[in-house]
């Protein structure tokens, strides 16, 4: 690696800069104030290609191109503009390290969220100081930040340069890992003894994420932020509900009292199986005791629980909007810092939402976008500025990653609809619905087959909306899929998530539809925004899933004569299983349509690697 890098003297400083890309970027955002208005105002840097920038997708048609470069420029602008102006001054670095330090203790605080939050925090902080000061080399590195003069060179980055950069990044990371792990042992021992219970507290996925990442952050200095982030993004072991110790601990912490259903399905012991009927009442009765939960979050949680809001995008947007509201109403308590206190709050909200309904992978992605934004806020910012910055971050996420992405997908997918097509869809997907409506607006002649499955019967709502728009529809149930597939020319499916082995994780029944379509040689097009992509790999639908209300299986809507299972819970041998998701193997999928273009399922890792991770989030 090194020999390759050496000849290019120019790239050297740049490498460093990129290596500490993540920690460096945040302060600039905060110092510039709300990033949204400032970014387009600096045209020079706007044109510059950041070294990490990825060329716009090829598949986009001419009018779509408008969108994606915009996203890219937006996302990388702050880096360029900031580096040029601020980094020459050493005060910025000082400021930054301090900031990072406070952030670390902030994470510790998350951990102990709840009763004895302050005390262990001070412990942790005192324990941390040596750890931070240990981090000599990285700090020095940081101070050698590229001078402003090197910045113009950035514009000329070639492919080779970028590649060299990537290499350097990798080596830097490896070095940091090696160095950090050794030093960390002593530091972490102190920390661990100080707050021994921190790790056990972890209950729900995002919090657990924290516990693992806290360990990392405690060990390493501030500028190992990149690693920390990476760690957080890495698939973490999920809470296994057959692990009794952890379940007990989680129970003690939970706000909502959940009674376990009596007839639990053996195969799914690792997933939470709760009685659904009692939870709403329980939540209602706790309304006045839940002072930790913001009313907006409470509303959204209840609506998740009742199934009022469903669908990946809708849930994600609702959650983010609720976060926005809660952040707006947030005021830092006395003797606390926003960067420390707010993450605790957010964690509390997230765990509340999880108790209402397990988070989808897309929501997890959204949260892991939001959370690092908080500690990145500069402590010099006033509270209102910090809040405004967060709010605009969330706004951008919703606009760019969800709303805009949907529009791009619709434009791409519509090109795949020809006159005379018979399009099949399963359940009700917001993107697929938009595609149909758009195709109709374009005057295409087509027919839609809506396949629906019990117990959710989401397709009925879609049917109502499409028929209302005058689209000719055929409605049938999932079992008749083989019957109806003869006449179908395209299958459009939505997805809850796309995993990096190409597996599409989506509403239950999708796999069957895709399988039958594959059998009948009908192309299967999966429409999914890239923020739903995840590194994780899944082979079947059993290891990870979500269980719905088992009573929904017993009830047959509209037919009271089918009531054989009314008293199912009284029979010991009888269990009902209501799976929510299933995993469709990539073999059955012809194409995945994302806002970056139309890709085969084998290319999912590319999207996850190139656009995901740090770059995923603007």
């Amino acid at each position: 690696m090194d020999p390759r890098r050496m000849p290019r003297t120019i790239t050297d400083p740049k490498i460093r800069q990129v290596g500490f890309f993540a920690p460096v970027a945040p302060p600039d955002v905060s110092m510039l104030g709300p990033p949204r208005p400032t970014t387009p105002s600096s045209p020079v840097s706007g044109n510059s290609l950041s070294p990490v920038m990825i060329p716009p997708p090829r598949h986009l048609s001419s009018d779509n191109v408008l969108l994606s470069p915009h996203i890219a420029v937006d996302s990388f602008l702050p880096v360029g503009s900031y580096n040029a102006s601020e980094f020459s001054s050493s005060t910025a670095t000082e400021d930054f390290s301090e900031d990072n330090f406070s952030k670390d203790s902030g994470w510790v605080l998350n951990e102990n969220s709840g009763k004895a939050a302050v005390k262990p925090n001070t412990h942790a902080a005192s324990g941390l100081t040596p750890a931070v000061s240990n981090e000599g080399p990285p700090m020095e590195l940081q101070k050698q930040q590229p001078p402003a003069s090197s910045m113009p060179k950035k514009e000329q980055t070639t492919k080779a340069e970028r590649r060299a950069l990537q290499d350097a990044q990798r080596t830097a990371k490896a070095a940091a890992n090696a160095g950090g792990s050794k030093k960390s042992i002593s530091a972490s021992a102190v920390v661990n003894s100080a707050n021994a219970n921190t790790k056990k507290v972890a209950k729900a996925p995002p919090q657990k994420k924290d516990s693992s990442s806290v360990a990392a952050s405690e060990k390493r200095g501030g500028d190992r932020q990149t690693d920390k982030d990476r760690k957080k993004d890495a698939p973490h072991p999920r809470m296994q509900f057959d692990d009794e110790d952890r379940v007990e601990k989680a129970k003690k912490r939970s706000v909502v009292k959940q009674t376990e259903s009596r007839n639990r399905v053996e195969l799914f012991r690792h997933l939470p199986q709760y009685e659904h009927g009692t939870r709403i009442l329980d939540l209602e009765s706790h309304f006045f005791q839940l002072d930790t939960v913001h009313p907006a979050i409470y509303t959204v949680g209840l609506r998740f629980l009742t199934g009022d809001i469903s669908g990946g995008n809708a849930r994600c947007i609702a959650m983010l909007r609720a976060f926005q509201e809660s952040i707006e109403d947030y005021s830092t308590p006395a003797e606390k810092e926003l960067t420390r206190d707010l993450p605790t709050k957010i964690n509390g909200y997230v765990s509340f939402l999880i108790q209402c309904r397990p988070l989808s992978i897309s929501m997890g992605n959204a949260i892991s976008f939001l959370k690092p934004k908080i500690p990145e806020l500069s402590s010099t910012m006033s509270e209102s500025e910090a809040k405004a910055s967060l709010l605009s971050d969330i706004d951008r996420f919703i606009n760019e990653k969800i709303i805009l992405a949907e529009k791009v997908i619709v434009r791409l997918a519509v090109t795949k609809i020809r006159d005379g097509d018979v399009l099949l869809t399963h359940g009700s997907s917001s993107v697929v619905e938009m595609i149909f409506l758009c195709a109709q607006e374009l005057g295409k002649q087509f027919r839609v087959v809506i396949v629906d499955s019990r117990p959710k019967l989401e397709g009925r709502m879609l049917l109502r909306r499409l028929v209302g728009k005058g689209i000719s529809c055929t409605y049938t149930h999932l079992n008749a899929i083989s019957y109806i597939m003869h006449e179908v020319t395209r299958v459009f499916l939505g997805a809850s998530s796309v995993l990096s082995n190409g597996t599409v994780y989506s509403r239950v029944g999708t796999a069957s539809v895709a399988m039958v379509a594959h059998q009948f040689r009908v192309p299967v097009l999966v429409c999914c925004e890239s923020y739903k992509f995840h590194k994780r790999v899944q082979l079947d639908s059993i290891c990870f899933n979500e269980l719905g209300d088992p009573d929904a299986i017993a009830r047959v809507s509209g037919k009271e004569d089918i009531n054989y299972l009314n008293d199912w819970a009284s029979s010991q041998n009888l269990q009902l299983l209501n799976l929510t998701y299933d995993a469709t193997p990539s073999d059955y999928i012809s194409m995945i349509i994302t806002e970056y273009g139309m890709i085969p399922p084998t290319s999912v890792p590319v999207i996850v690697q190139e656009y995901g991770g740090e770059h995923l989030l603007i």
Binding site: C473, H477, A480, Q519, S541, I542, I553, N573
Partner: protein, 417 residues
């Protein structure tokens, strides 16, 4: 003229309205109806068999027209027709035997050929070939009859019936009715026969998936439970009728660990299943099966996961027809109200208001066709003895065997109805 008219009309009406459910019940009712037809039919002195055949056939045509999808009706009518022909031939041969060799006569069991001489045997063969090819049952149970026509002479001479033509007619009727009774008995016991095989296929702690509701499957699993102890069953409910709920309740009542899943979860669950056992509606001549809607999806999922897909079916479901355009010709559309409640969408389904085609169609088919390559095994109640024909000595048929068998017998079936 015929007194059975009322009975036939009643049954036809039932079939028309699809009041009879399940092919076993239909088969049984058909056989019972035909028995009463035979017993009520007045027979002339001559050509008794042809009169009987004619009346049964006309009734059969009516019944089949009433519900062309219920293939068991046709199967039973064919069987009864075959029984009549066989009885006729056996009586004729015994008569010829009586005429030619007056010392010897046959009052033996009807099922066996009682040809005392080679001459009689040859006549019988002529009759056989002209009247009927060997039936399925003849092949399976009775096959040696054509190959080993020579029998031990029975010594007893029955003088009572020999001369009496009237008693002879009654004799034919009597024998036919007896044979139909045996047939009904066979239909009744087919579940138990099939259940005997259960031991061989289910082991302890296995996970079994079934779809919808089938009495055959219920008995099969129960038998396995009694011998092999506990195993788990996943039951896909089989929307929109959700008959799987009933089966689940029955199985749980038997002490089996049963779990009801939605049909959509079949693909997800099948990864953990060892065996798929289902009941079907009919078995076609090529070894494919007509099954409740959704079965193709299940079979395909099992195939993709390399899990055996076992079909249990009584022999009355084996049909000598080949499936052609089965999605349409062997299917039936049920009411859309099973999927969408009336009222909610009726304005869209109204043909009169809209211009051109209505914007909404609802497809609610009843049956699915599962091609033979997806069926791993067919378990039936007929114990197949004929090694030379089938090279098999059990009740387990693969689709190839079905094809072979049907090839041999299809003439017997398809010519006569």
């Amino acid at each position: 003229m015929p007194d059975y008219r009322g009975l036939v009309d009643e049954f036809v009406a039932k079939l028309n309205k699809r009041k009879v459910e399940g092919s076993q019940a239909t088969a049984r009712l058909t056989a019972e109806l035909l028995r009463s037809v035979v017993s009520l039919q007045k027979l002339p002195c001559k050509n008794q068999a042809s009169v009987l055949i004619e009346s049964v056939r006309s009734v059969g045509v009516q019944l089949i027209a009433a519900n062309p999808i219920e293939l068991a009706v046709g199967n039973i009518v064919r069987r009864v027709l075959h029984i009549i022909r066989e009885e006729d031939v056996s009586i004729l041969t015994s008569n010829t035997g009586d005429l030619n060799l007056s010392t010897e006569s046959g009052d033996e069991e009807i099922e066996q050929d009682n040809n005392p001489s080679s001459f009689a045997a040859s006549i019988a063969d002529i009759y056989r070939s002209s009247l009927c090819a060997p039936s399925l049952h003849a092949l399976l149970e009775d096959a040696p009859s054509t190959k080993a026509p020579c029998r031990i002479y029975t010594s007893g001479v029955d003088s009572e019936e020999k001369d009496d033509k009237h008693s002879l007619s009654r004799k034919l009727k009597h024998f036919v009715i007896e044979a139909i009774k045996t047939l009904i008995g066979d239909i009744d016991s087919c579940h138990d026969q099939i259940a005997q095989e259960a031991v061989e296929h289910i082991h302890q702690n296995e996970v079994i998936l079934t779809f919808g509701r089938s009495r055959t499957v219920l008995k099969f699993l129960r038998a396995a439970k009694e011998i092999k102890g506990s195993f788990k069953v996943f039951i896909a409910e089989g929307a929109p009728r959700c008959q799987g709920h009933v089966l689940a309740k029955e199985l749980a009542g038997q002490g089996l660990k049963s779990t009801v899943i939605g049909d959509a979860a079949v693909f997800a669950i099948i990864a953990r299943v060892n065996l798929v056992i289902v009941g079907v509606h009919a078995v076609m001549a090529n070894g494919g099966v007509i099954a409740p809607i959704g079965m193709h999806m299940v079979a395909l999922a099992a195939h993709k996961h390399a899990i055996p897909f076992v079909v249990v079916a009584g022999i009355h479901k084996l049909c000598p027809l080949y499936p052609h355009n089965q999605e349409v010709s062997l299917n039936e559309m049920r009411s859309p109200s099973e999927l969408l409640e009336f009222g909610k969408f009726s304005n869209f389904m109204d043909y009169s208001t809209g211009v051109g085609a209505p914007p909404l169609h609802v497809a609610n088919p009843t049956f699915d066709y599962v091609p033979p390559e997806l069926v791993s095994l067919l378990i039936t109640d007929v114990y197949c003895k004929e090694e030379e024909i089938l090279k098999l000595e059990n009740r387990l048929w693969t689709s190839n065997v079905v094809k072979k068998l049907v090839c041999l017998t299809e003439n017997a079936y398809s010519i006569h109805v």
